[in-house]
């Protein structure tokens, strides 16, 4: 009940913001009757109406994460953000090895095995992706691509 109400409340505020922003779009010229404002405003009204409805009649909460689950999700998220930070700077091979090893470990692999797996994975994929498929894969520090 609570989650639904929080979500609906946040969305309600958001729909107000959207409508307000859309209303203040500065339109220098306009050939058509509807213009760029109307569509977002219509949508925000629909969203607001749905949110009020959800607040009045929320669903039961089914999600009850325990501490372990919560920690795992938090670590997973931090790792992904770290991956995004490192991806260009440290390059694909280094960042994938680090991130892959941690994910493998999170899903129950022993640390050393996880590291070796991630290392092999990143090396093999690098050549597959960069050389074979000619994708734009950052080399970063390792191959001095600055």
């Amino acid at each position: 009940m609570l989650y639904d109400r929080i979500f609906a409340g946040v969305s309600l505020v958001l729909s107000g913001l959207i409508a307000w922003t859309a209303y203040h779009f500065d339109v220098p010229f306009q050939y058509e009757p509807l213009g760029p404002k109307a569509f977002p405003i219509i949508l925000s009204i629909i969203l607001a109406a749905c949110c009020v409805w959800m607040m009045v009649k929320p669903d039961q909460n089914v999600w009850r994460p325990n501490k372990e689950v919560f920690t795992k999700i938090a670590i997973g998220l931090v790792i992904m953000v770290l991956y995004a930070v490192l991806f260009e700077e440290a390059g694909f091979i280094i960042s994938t090895t680090i991130v892959g090893a941690i994910f493998s470990w999170l899903f129950g692999e022993k640390p050393l095995k996880a590291f070796l797996y991630a290392l092999v994975l990143s090396l093999v994929s690098y050549f597959l992706l960069a050389d074979l498929m000619e994708l734009n894969v950052p080399t970063g520090l390792l191959l001095g691509d600055f």
């Binding site: 989650y3 639904d4 979500f7 969305s11 959207i18 922003t21 859309a22 779009f25 220098p28 010229f29 058509e32 009757p33 509807l34 213009g35 760029p36 569509f39 977002p40 949508l43 629909i46 969203l47 749905c50 949110c51 409805w53 959800m54 669903d59 089914v62 999600w63 372990e68 689950v69 795992k72 999700i73 997973g76 998220l77 992904m80 953000v81 991956y83 995004a84 930070v85 991806f87 260009e88 994938t96 991130v99 892959g100 090893a101 994910f103 493998s104 470990w105 999170l106 899903f107 129950g108 692999e109 797996y117 994975l121 994929s125 992706l129 498929m133 994708l135 734009n136 894969v137 950052p138």
Partner: protein, 495 residues
């Protein structure tokens, strides 16, 4: 015969070495993805889409590959349903009901083979229907003006809201969120910047790929992280049993009926494999009532029906995507987005102006289906082995593929961060019981809906009555009202 002529064009496209290789690769990867528990067709297509885009395939080849992954995954979903009792996605849920009991009895081989054959006939039947009806529908759709398109999309969203998920209101919220995503960026009509918050990366609008990958793949990784702590999967041995001819004869009418209903449900906008398989299962259960039925305890009819129907609906859902530009399911919404990225606008003119794409795809599906049957009967052991791949090996691959795929589009880390933010948002939505397909549908259709609405009102000089002008608009309006009220009326009738 026009159709045969076009079909021969299609086969000449589909049979080029590149495309033939891509069909086989797509079907193989699809079966693999579908057979892995937890990763369904929609995630598979989402993860592979940026790769297909970045390696610079021609549009028809990319579409052939992705479509192969789509129906291949629909095919493969049954493997984990039967052997693990874990459906890969919502469309495979009904398969667990009778498939898993069969596997527990030691008839895993029989269940896998029978479901492969049902899937094959389901898709083939639906493909034939597609060849017949898609050109007719596209001829009808050529007469559509902006008002008709506005109604068509409202109809699609209404079908989606009344048929998908437990709470229609949440589907509507999902659609609106998707539509709002679509408004971000420079407005094509006036050049006004909308909701970009001053971020230059958003001036072109939110990138379709970033949204799809973030919402499906990243949130999936979070879900996997969450569920890992709880369950451990036990693989049921396949056993030596195999399908017999009498088995196939016993379910031939089941397959026939389920193919028809699966195709029809697939064609309806917004509804996909999950509804098709549920309806087919329910129908067969009612048909069999009193006639030696063991539904839920390993009845072969209960296995054949949802498998034929969900594969038929995969083909059916391509019909509105190709002919009207309105996707029939979440996965086809992603395929539609893929087409748009290649600057191809699906719609009634696609069949006439770019027959190589529309008919090439259809022809490739015939080839793909045969390939899938061949792959799935003798090679089933390979896929079964893959089921035992550990998540600790799988998840790093998924994460890596999503990051490489998104980075290689623009070479900009902004997209990576944006993808993660969207992934968290989608995770919250999923935990609150929202379905993600409506969001993607809204995102894909948002621009088209707004454009058509504005065009219609430009024609009428701002008079909204143009939306009810002409037979077709009335028909669509009535269909929308019917879709809105039908579930309630059916409910009261049942009482």
């Amino acid at each position: 015969m026009d159709v045969l002529h076009y079909l021969s064009i299609g086969f000449s496209v589909a049979l080029t070495p590149l495309n033939l290789g891509l069909v086989l690769a797509g079907c193989f990867i699809g079966t693999l993805i579908g057979s892995l528990p937890g990763i369904g067709p929609i995630n598979g297509v989402a993860i592979l889409l940026p790769l297909a885009y970045s390696i610079g395939l021609p549009p028809e080849s990319a579409l052939i590959l992705l479509a192969g992954v789509y129906y291949g995954a629909e095919y493969g979903g049954r493997i984990s349903s039967i052997l693990l009792n874990v459906p890969g996605d919502a469309g495979a849920i009904m398969t667990t009901l009778d498939g898993y009991p069969m596997a527990k009895r030691g008839e895993g081989g029989r269940a896998l083979a029978l479901s492969a054959v049902s899937s094959f006939f389901g898709s083939m039947g639906a493909l034939l229907l597609m060849v017949i009806f898609a050109p007719l529908l596209s001829k009808l759709a050529i007469q559509f003006g902006p008002s008709e398109y506005v109604w068509l999309m409202i109809f699609a969203f209404t079908c989606l809201a009344t048929m998908v998920g437990k709470r229609p209101i949440k589907t509507v919220v999902g659609v609106v969120i998707g539509l709002l995503f679509a408004t971000v960026g420079i407005d094509s009509g006036t050049g006004v910047l909308r909701f970009t918050m001053g971020i230059p990366n958003l001036f072109d609008g939110v990138d379709f790929l970033v949204v799809v990958i973030g919402m499906f793949a990243i949130s999936e990784v979070l879900i996997l992280l969450e569920s890992w702590a709880r369950n451990d999967l036990k693989l049921t041995p396949v056993g030596k049993s195999f399908i017999s001819f009498s088995d196939i004869m016993a379910v031939k009418w089941v397959i026939f009926r389920s193919t028809l209903s699966g195709f029809l449900i697939g064609v309806l906008p917004g509804t996909g494999a999950s509804i098709a398989s549920a309806v087919a299962y329910g129908t067969e259960k009612r048909f069999a009532e009193g006639k030696d039925e063991h539904f839920g305890n390993g009845d072969i009819r209960g296995l054949a029906a949802p498998e034929a129907a969900n594969n038929a609906s995969a083909a059916g859902s391509m019909v509105p995507m190709l002919t009207l530009g309105i996707p029939g399911s979440g996965t086809t919404a992603i395929l539609l987005g893929a087409l748009m990225m290649f600057n191809i606008t699906p719609g009634p003119l696609l069949f006439e102006q770019q027959p190589n794409i529309a008919w090439g795809l259809i022809a490739s599906m015939f080839i793909g289906n045969i390939a899938l049957l061949v792959m799935n009967l003798p090679m089933i052991g390979v896929f079964v082995k893959l089921l035992s791949i550990k998540q600790s090996y799988l998840v790093p691959i998924i994460v890596m593929l999503t990051f490489v795929g998104i980075y290689s589009i623009h070479g900009d880390t902004f997209d990576l961060f944006f993808m993660i933010v969207l992934g968290v948002f989608a995770f919250i939505l999923r935990k609150l019981g929202f379905s993600l397909a409506p969001v993607i549908l809204g995102l894909v259709l948002g621009e088209v809906l707004e454009e058509n609405l504005r065009r219609a009102l430009s024609i009428s000089g701002g008079d909204w009555s143009i939306l009810l002008n002409g037979t077709m608009t009335y028909v669509l309006a009535i269909a929308t009202v019917a879709a809105l009220t039908a579930p309630r009326i059916l409910k009261t009738l049942k009482k």
